[in-house]
């Protein structure tokens, strides 16, 4: 029994390590800046990471199958502009608009997934193409102009709080819980790992590999739709330029969290901690008035550091 624990601990120590890093960083920041360890600031960080967190959850599921989704940022823009359009022009109930935005994301994801799974196209290329297509469609739909004047009760999704907790954070937690259940408790989750780990073995075991490979992009698209709603509500407008380079942050959180880009290995839990780490670093550097140019460099170094830790684990 004791020996069982040993193997168990070693596997999890990396996750804890990441948490320790986050806590350590928090402690350092609270010494350097008086503003860091305040409720307002921490809630603000949580609000800021919500969008990236949700996108990174979708990204992680895609990466677990050995794929990648570069179209995330553009799908966010498209879903957001659709939502804004429906809210402004026509008098649809908000719930319906939310569904439409999510559906729009899911459909673009379906398109990605179809070509990856059923046409054997490389995920990198398919989603790169979708990245420009979705961005283009966003511009077409909006004529390149922001869509604003959105109803205030919609804006609450981005700006409001329930019991002191920002609504976006609540949504992130919901998405995280649902996705975790899916990956750990449902057979779909086992299949995702199996497909990423060894596609042939999965196929021989009777798994519908193509369907799984397609569905992960749909899920990522749905995550984009949800994130788009939050973003649109936060900035009070549908912006055609929204979501630019969001895919990179989502990939960063995924990788920092220990998910292997070659598939088959990773945890959602790690991804969320990765997103929090990135959020705290950004926030800390903001508080310290470090220019955003330097922030980019720091972010890059963190990603590299995370990969180094990860490769050590795999020795």
């Amino acid at each position: 029994m004791k020996e069982k624990m040993k193997g168990f601990d070693r596997k999890w120590i990396q996750t804890y390590m990441l948490i320790f890093i986050v806590i350590g960083l928090g402690i350092i920041l609270s010494f350097i800046s008086r503003n860091f360890l305040t409720t307002t600031n921490l809630l603000n960080v949580l609000r800021q990471i919500s969008i990236n967190g949700i996108l990174a959850i979708g990204m992680t599921i895609v990466c677990l199958t050995g794929g990648i989704d570069l179209s995330v940022g553009s799908i966010v823009a498209f879903s957001g502009i659709i939502a804004a359009g429906f809210l402004r022009d026509k008098e649809y109930p908000i719930v319906l608009v939310l569904l439409i935005a999510i559906l729009a994301g899911g459909l673009l994801g379906l398109y990605n997934g179809y070509f990856v799974a059923y046409r054997n196209a490389a995920p990198f290329v398919v989603t790169l193409s979708m990245m420009t297509i979705a961005r283009g469609m966003t511009y077409v739909y909006s004529n390149g102009r922001p869509i604003s004047n959105l109803p205030t009760n919609f804006l609450a999704i981005g700006k409001g709080s329930i019991a002191g907790i920002p609504v976006p954070t609540i949504i992130l937690i919901l998405v995280f819980v649902l996705a975790s259940i899916m990956l750990t408790k449902l057979k779909f989750g086992r299949y995702v790992y199996a497909v990423g780990g060894n596609e042939n073995a999965a196929m021989v075991s009777g798994i519908n590999v193509k369907w799984i490979k397609m569905m992960v992009y749909v899920l990522s698209g749905i995550a984009c739709g949800i994130a788009a709603i939050i973003l649109t509500a936060r900035v009070s407008a549908g912006l055609p330029t929204a979501g630019e380079s969001y895919e990179l942050d989502a990939i960063a959180a995924t990788v920092i969290g220990g998910t292997s880009l070659s598939g088959g290995r990773g945890r959602l839990w790690g991804t969320i901690v990765g997103a929090i780490l990135l959020g705290i670093v950004n926030n800390g550097l903001d508080l310290l008035n470090v220019s955003s140019f330097y922030q980019q460099i720091v972010k890059g170094l963190i990603i590299l550091g995370a990969i180094l830790i990860d490769s050590k684990r795999n020795e």
Binding site: E3, G7, Y193, A194, G197, A202, M203, V204, G206
Partner: protein, 509 residues
């Protein structure tokens, strides 16, 4: 020299008091091992006994936790494979790891490419590769890509690669598990000539007959412990087995009383252009149908097509009288077919997943409810049950399959299909890499399945196994069904005759 005799006595290499731990496993406990000039040293033991682990320590892949290594009486430290190679130690690995998109020549000379100035000298490399391939007796063009080769050809390339270092100590970890009779003879010829050159050879195998054909000395490990070293002419097979498994194995092939019933599977004129053609056979309830033939004769390919991993181009498949249509693994499984594939690394296992996850993977449909939630308690119960049944050695159900010994990995492939409880079971080389003790367990299991009324296809390249297990034997030759023999009429000679097509002239009855 004068003291030639003494030099022969002195070990070339010695490992003393080696201990190696992995999380949750004591893989080697204080073992000793020595190699003498010009001798073939067989290393034997059950799956998970620690054979590969010790060899990897000698080849610089793992480091021992305790103990020392001596080369020509001098203590050495081997931290990397490169250092081991520099000390004249090369190894053929149990698990192949060729770079599939590179050519044979590129694989052979990986890390020691021939160059002219700064440029790789492909002409010279191909020439040298040809020479090496010829030496191991395979006729392949060195510019072929690895992925075009069969598993057994890859293994031969791997052997050629190990020879190319001209090492003094050559370790062969189950080199014969995936190669054909003829290639094994080639291998033995090579080993004999290496012996004459005064090299030391370590040979790991689970095949008893090979040990006595080739080895001078035999060392036995059991559960990570050193049991002893014996001269091969002073020990017999039974004694050796007792040393390995610590008990007597009475009958290798079980007595059985299976009732042969109705046809469950019928295959008619199945073909796949350029691979196999006009394959027809019937399989009955309770029957064990053996598929014999040389490796590469198309047996696996037929099964792959039958199961829907590849698509047949002609012919039809009937299950319980019902036509299957376009075969697909999902469909085959739902119709009650299970397929223990031969290539565990390629399509048998997800190496990065746990023992538990791999075992239940094909059964998840049955082990989950309507919304797809897995019943973990029940899943764990069946997984545990089969772990016990097949005596799978793993520190926990959560252990990554990658970290199990080769034979234990193979047992997991068996477990995952047995759980399904299918009506038709295809076993493709099910005992490859499995130790004698577990082999008899598998034979018993297969016999029991037949007695329960399952229909079984049993593919094996090992003649005694096919003869011992089958009710009927189909022999393949170059993608065609060359002959069919009943249990009564089958002999090793008849099978060989069909399998090698020497009866072309109509020598049969």
């Amino acid at each position: 020299m004068g003291n030639d005799d003494k030099a022969r006595e002195e070990p070339v290499f010695e490992a003393r008091n080696i201990t190696k731990r992995f999380p949750g496993v004591l893989a080697l406990s204080n073992v000793n091992f020595r190699l003498v000039k010009g001798k073939v040293h067989a290393l034997m033991g059950e799956n998970g006994a620690g054979k590969s682990t010790l060899m990897k320590i000698i080849a610089g892949i793992y480091q021992a936790d305790e103990g020392e290594l001596y080369l020509h009486g001098k203590k050495v430290s081997l931290q990397t494979p490169k250092q081991a190679l520099n000390h004249g130690i090369s190894m053929i690995h149990q698990e192949l790891s060729p770079i599939l998109d590179m050519t044979i020549a590129e694989n052979l000379f990986l890390g020691k490419e021939f160059c002219r100035g700064k440029f790789v000298d492909y002409k010279r490399m191909n020439q040298e590769a040809s020479a090496l391939l010829e030496k191991v007796g395979v006729s392949l063009h060195p510019s072929m890509r690895m992925k075009e080769l069969t598993v057994s050809q890859m293994q031969m390339v791997e052997i050629a690669k190990a020879l190319s270092y001209e090492a003094e100590i050559i370790i062969m970890d189950e080199p014969s598990a995936t190669i054909t009779e003829r290639e094994i003879s080639n291998l033995f010829r090579i080993i004999k000539s290496l012996k004459e050159e005064g090299k030391c050879i370590v040979y790991i195998t689970h095949k008893m007959d090979e040990v006595f054909r080739i080895a001078d000395e035999i060392t036995v490990f059991r559960d990570g412990e050193y049991i002893g070293t014996y001269d091969s002419d002073k020990i017999d097979e039974n004694q050796l087995v007792v040393k390995m498994v610590d008990r007597e194995l009475t009958k290798i092939y079980p007595q059985r009383s299976n009732q042969i019933g109705d046809v469950v599977l019928k295959v008619e004129n199945l073909g796949q252009s350029g691979v196999f053609e006009e394959i027809s056979f019937e399989l009955r309830k309770g029957e064990i149908l053996g598929f014999s033939g040389l490796m590469g004769s198309g047996r696996t390919e037929v099964m792959n097509a039958l199961f829907g991993i590849t698509q047949p181009t002609s012919g039809s498949i009937y299950i319980n009288g019902e036509e299957l249509g376009k075969p697909k693994p999902r469909k085959a499984i739902s119709k009650g077919i299970g397929y223990v594939t031969e290539d565990r690394k390629g399509n048998g296992l997800v190496l990065e997943m746990s023992v538990y996850d791999n075992t239940i993977l094909p059964s998840l449909d049955k082990l989950s409810n309507k919304i797809g939630a897995v019943n973990r308690k029940q899943s764990m119960k069946v997984a545990e049950e089969y772990k016990e049944k097949l005596n799978i050695k793993t520190p926990s159900m959560q252990q990554m399959v990658k970290q199990l010994s080769g034979g234990n990995q193979q047992k997991i492939v068996l477990a995952k299909w047995l759980i399904q409880n299918p009506d038709v079971l295809i076993f493709d080389e099910p005992t490859r890499g499995i130790d004698v003790g577990a082999k008899t367990e598998i034979y018993k299991l297969v016999a029991k399945l037949a007695e329960e009324g399952k229909a079984i296809i049993f593919i094996s390249s090992e003649m005694p196994e096919i003869l011992g297990m089958s009710d009927r034997i189909i022999v393949f030759y170059e993608g065609r069904k060359q002959g069919e023999l009943t249990r009564g009429e089958a002999t090793q000679e008849k099978i060989m005759m069909y399998a090698s097509d020497v009866n072309e002239g109509g020598a049969q009855e």
